[in-house]
């Protein structure tokens, strides 16, 4: 069913709506998490024990990317403000 487009055009002050870019600490956390996903801090060529079916460094990397995903959900919900005239529905 078609609903008339709800895209709002009535926000006068764009900076009044919160956005992740206004919070520098968020990007510091992202840098740390992406850095944790890359196994640069382990000795190259080393064979690690298997953990949850994968080499330990792979499991650590997967853990870091899981954390990035959940952190992103948190950031979107907490620091991305809604539009005043936003409505549900759509094609």
């Amino acid at each position: 069913m078609f609903i008339v487009a709800q895209c709002e055009a009535a926000i006068n002050d764009l900076s009044a709506v919160d956005e992740p870019r206004f919070h520098p600490w968020i990007w510091v956390v992202y840098v740390v998490l992406f850095a944790a996903a890359i196994p640069w801090y382990l000795p190259p060529g080393a064979q690690a024990t298997t953990w949850l079916g994968f080499p330990l460094w792979v499991t650590i990397s997967l853990g870091a990317t899981f954390t990035i995903a959940f952190f992103t959900v948190f950031v979107i919900r907490r620091y991305w403000g809604d539009d005043q005239h936003d409505k549900e529905g759509g094609s």
């Binding site: 992406f34 995903a69 959900v73 005239h85 759509g90």
Partner: protein, 489 residues
């Protein structure tokens, strides 16, 4: 590509799938309320969270994801889990600029990425250069998808349906449903194609390594027989990992078709919900792709260079002969691969058509033309464009993956205009123009000289760093100069 003799069952299944795609196109045509540009290219700016999520997923995960990435895992081993990080980086980069861009698109009724560049910078030259780079990289990308279509169909049929016939049949299906329904047809088919891709991947997972015990057995085998694949990666690989996160994070985030989906969202809530789902898709998609490549290593040793690209087709051929269950899975996977390729190709084609009709023609030669006329012209442009690219695809001069790599390194050069332009008000048109031009020239020069990387970083990424540095330095210098001029007066 080796033959995948999947038989009549697979051909019937795929034929039904293609007919359904055409049916969706016809249905989308009945739902079109007008022939305006917004209606045709942005589905009336009314995409809800569910549709938005599936169209972003199906568009972003292309034929390369399911055909090329297992081959990379075959070559690199577990280190290819880097693909999870770089696909996730794309969503993170959206958080930087999409909130503002989406609101501005609503307020100022942007249809193409060029509308944003015009609005933000007011520089026809910058818009032209940006659009030229977008068109070059998109045409490259579309060509790669067309070639992938031909390879998959030829492989599926054991070359009974030749490469060129595969290309023609599939592009005809795409162009017909797209002409009928515009973005609405594209996103509705994306829902089906995204589901097909996801089900195909789950089928793959169930066939190769459904649980931790299987993963453990695979890892143990690799540890014994190919220890390099399980060892901690070298510093060079870690550097490539970092380079890919930045290159693909910023490059894929400014795909014009992705930007237009931001424009087409019915509001920020829809966009937020879809991105909250999208950020998990690398985790559910990429490990399967990596496990496919590693399973291929276990089954087929010593596939060198380009041969490794055959890993998935070879596995599918084996599974198709194992049992009825694995045969069904193999057919689903092949359809999922086709869906991944088609869903990317249709979006890229629509984006290209919108840029050429609205930005190149509508803003330069047909300034007084009504939107309906530009829409009609855009539809014709799609047909011409696809015919030209199909002709090139019949006699390709580059490999599939060479094309895709080149595309990303060119595309990332325009990211400052969108990302930095949205978040940094002091970025000037002149600085952006010089930055983009230098970045694109350096990238082209490195490709021509065959320099693909320096110190482990993609050469296109280093060109991008120069591009960003120029944007920041020239904008800051320009602003300081202007301030001191005002003080003097």
């Amino acid at each position: 590509m080796n033959a995948i003799p999947l038989g009549v069952g697979a051909v019937v299944f795929i034929a039904v799938y293609l007919v359904v795609m055409l049916g969706v196109g016809v249905f989308a045509r009945t739902r079109r309320r007008s022939d305006s540009l917004t209606e045709f290219y942005l589905a009336g700016r009314n995409l809800g969270p569910f549709i938005l999520f599936f169209t972003l997923y199906a568009t972003q995960y292309s034929g390369n994801t399911v055909l090329g990435y297992p081959a990379e895992a075959y070559r690199l081993g577990y280190a290819w889990i880097m693909s999870i990080s770089f696909m996730m980086a794309v969503v993170v980069v959206y958080l930087l600029y999409a909130p503002r861009l989406q609101r501005l698109a609503c307020r100022h009724e942007f249809v193409t990425p060029g509308d944003w560049v015009d609005h933000r910078f007011g520089s026809p030259l910058l818009s032209l250069v940006t659009n030229l780079l977008l068109v070059v990289s998109l045409a490259n990308y579309l060509l790669a998808q067309l070639m992938a279509m031909g390879h998959v169909v030829a492989g599926l049929s054991g070359n009974v349906v030749p490469y060129w016939a595969g290309v023609i049949v599939l592009i005809l299906v795409i162009i017909i449903y797209e002409t009928l329904g515009g973005l609405r047809a594209v996103v509705w088919t994306d829902v089906l194609q995204g589901l097909m891709l996801f089900v195909g991947l789950l089928g793959l997972m169930s066939a190769i390594a459904p649980g931790p015990a299987h993963w453990h057995a695979l890892t143990e085998w690799l540890h014994e027989n190919a220890p390099a694949t399980t060892a901690v990666p070298s510093l060079g690989v870690s550097t490539r990992w970092l380079s890919s996160i930045v290159l693909i994070g910023f490059g894929a985030a400014v795909y014009p078709q992705a930007i237009q989906r931001i424009f087409a969202a019915q509001g920020s809530r829809a966009l937020k919900k879809s991105l909250q789902l999208m950020v998990f898709m690398p985790i559910v998609t990429m490990p399967i792709v990596v496990l496919v490549g590693l399973t291929g290593l276990r089954r087929f040793r010593d596939l060198g260079g380009v041969e490794a690209d055959q890993v998935l087709p070879m596995l599918l051929r084996d599974w198709a002969q194992d049992s009825v269950w694995t045969y069904v899975m193999a057919v689903l996977v092949v359809t999922g691969i086709l869906a991944a390729i088609m869903s990317t190709a249709d979006s890229v084609l629509l984006s290209l058509s919108s840029i050429l009709s609205k930005d190149f023609l509508g803003k330069r030669f047909l300034r007084d033309a009504p939107g309906e006329r530009l829409t009609a012209i855009g539809q014709r442009i799609s047909w011409v464009l696809i015919a030209v690219l199909a002709a090139i695809a019949f006699a390709p001069r580059m490999t599939l993956w060479g094309l895709i790599e080149l595309k990303m390194e060119i595309l990332v050069q325009v990211s400052p205009v969108f990302v930095l332009g949205a978040i940094w008000s002091r970025l000037t048109a002149r600085a952006a123009l010089i930055g983009i031009s230098v970045g694109a020239l350096l990238t082209s020069a490195s490709v021509l000289m065959g320099i693909r990387s320096l110190w482990g970083f993609h050469s296109g990424l280093l060109a991008w760093a120069v591009n960003i540095a120029l944007c920041v330095f020239l904008s800051t210098f320009n602003n300081l100069y202007r301030l001191s001029g005002e003080e003097t007066r």
